[in-house]
């Protein structure tokens, strides 16, 4: 049997396992020591009246051996779990670096080519480059989504605190989806409160959130469908609503919409490209920014997603 801990240096252990000091095997061993002393005394005081000294010794020994065995099993399995988590988070970190660096390289080089060295490129060549860019954006998005999910699961998810001009950001995302909007013949109306104050949140991630809601509203809409995007101020919150006239979410699936990897059956028929991660990530980003998200949906009539964000 592998006995409880080999190295008693708490700080080193915490670092190696990637846990806090009170989660290290050495610390838990100390706690185990206290428990043993406590239980031994309890057994002693409780039974000295009616037990002979020989029985008392045997009783104490049985109790101590029992606690040691159970304690050892618990500590070892916690150590194993910590090791697995550490490996997982290292893996996420490696993937994040090794995949994102070349993707960033492609994206920056395309930007470099288009913005500084596009003289002499003909229309066809420019179009091809734009296609490469679109594929690269899709791939980066996929990698980012997977990394976000891994980090959310590990509670290692970080969001910046930028000052966001939410109206400008909404307009940017609507423009970005322009090609898809035209292709699906969708009419988008934008209703915005005047003098909307800035909000606090992670600008890049908020762009992803908005893009999820808006591109969903386009993709799961009907031909000649409508979308209304509203940005309003309500007390100390900004309220954003995205309402479509699309296929809607069936009633029995509505409480699973924000689940990881969940895709509505009607959605999968209409659009094959999704992963079921978008809304899960969106909910996490909104909640981590101090906001809330909710929706109303009627099958075959449409869906309205609402979310709130704190105003600065």
């Amino acid at each position: 049997m592998n006995w409880i801990v080999n190295d008693l240096n708490i700080k080193k252990q915490a670092e190696n396992l990637g846990v806090s000091i009170w989660q290290t095997p050495s610390f838990m061993l100390m706690i185990l020591g206290f428990i043993i002393v406590f239980v031994m005394s309890a057994v002693f005081f409780a039974s000295r009246e009616f037990m002979s000294p020989e029985f008392l010794i045997i009783a104490e020994a049985v109790v101590v051996i029992f606690i040691l065995i159970v304690g050892n099993i618990i500590i070892q399995s916690m150590e194993k779990l910590a090791k697995v988590n550490k490996i997982k988070s290292e893996f996420v970190s490696i993937v994040s670096h090794q995949l994102k660096t070349p993707l960033t390289g492609i994206s920056w080089d395309i930007e470099f080519l288009i913005s500084k060295h596009s003289d002499g490129l003909n229309k066809k060549q420019t179009e091809i480059i734009k296609n490469i860019e679109a594929s690269n954006v899709a791939m980066s998005r996929m990698v980012n989504d997977l990394l976000d999910v891994a980090r959310i699961d590990q509670n290692n998810f970080f969001t910046r605190k930028d000052e966001i001009d939410i109206v400008a950001l909404v307009k940017k995302v609507v423009d970005k989806n322009n090609v898809l909007t035209l292709k699906n013949k969708i009419n988008i109306t934008l209703l915005v409160d005047d003098n909307m104050p800035k909000i606090e949140g992670d600008e890049k991630r908020m762009e992803v959130v908005l893009d999820n809601f808006i591109s969903n509203a386009i993709k799961y809409n009907k031909e000649n469908g409508k979308i209304t995007v509203k940005v309003q101020k309500d007390n100390r919150k900004a309220l954003i609503s995205i309402k479509d006239s699309g296929i809607g979410i069936p009633k029995d699936e509505q409480d699973r919409v924000f689940e990881k990897f969940y895709r509505s059956k009607v959605a999968s028929i209409q659009e094959t490209g999704g992963t079921g991660l978008g809304l899960y990530i969106a909910k996490n980003i909104i909640e981590r920014s101090g906001g809330k998200v909710w929706f109303r949906s009627v099958e075959n009539e449409g869906t309205e997603f609402n979310f709130s964000l704190p105003i600065i």
Partner: protein, 127 residues
């Protein structure tokens, strides 16, 4: 702006070159280093107004660079912008604790957006 000096410590050749060209086009004087040790030398010799620092670097990583700079400069006055593709809570908190001004996840930004962020920081520092 013409006199402002920017040091890029980045091991990826493509990213380093693209960023340097964009910044030079804006009139900045740009120095580059491809590993942590070279970066530390350049911080002394080039004396930049702002440092763009990657985290995963050969010889000395970004965290070690920050630690060493803190050792020989009592107070970190030069802004350090972590330009990284790591982006987990642990990494970012560690970098901010070590005195980084801010961090940007490279892959999330276009080059021109990064240039804008750098200008914002330099402008704020000036005031």
């Amino acid at each position: 702006m013409e006199n402002k000096k920017i040091l890029i410590i980045e091991d990826d050749l493509t990213l380093r070159n693209v960023l340097a060209e964009f910044l030079e086009a804006e009139g900045f004087k740009v120095g580059v280093a491809s590993d942590g040790e070279e970066g530390l030398e350049m911080i002394k010799s080039f004396n930049p107004d702002i440092v763009l620092l990657d985290i995963i670097l050969p010889k000395k990583n970004g965290f070690e660079v920050l630690k060493e700079v803190r050792n020989y400069k009592e107070k970190l006055t030069t802004p350090f912008v972590l330009l990284t593709n790591l982006g987990s809570l642990d990494d970012i908190e560690k970098a901010l604790e070590l005195g980084a001004t801010t961090y940007l996840v490279k892959g999330d930004y276009q080059v021109k957006e990064i240039v804008e962020k750098i200008k914002e920081i330099l402008f704020k520092e000036k005031k």
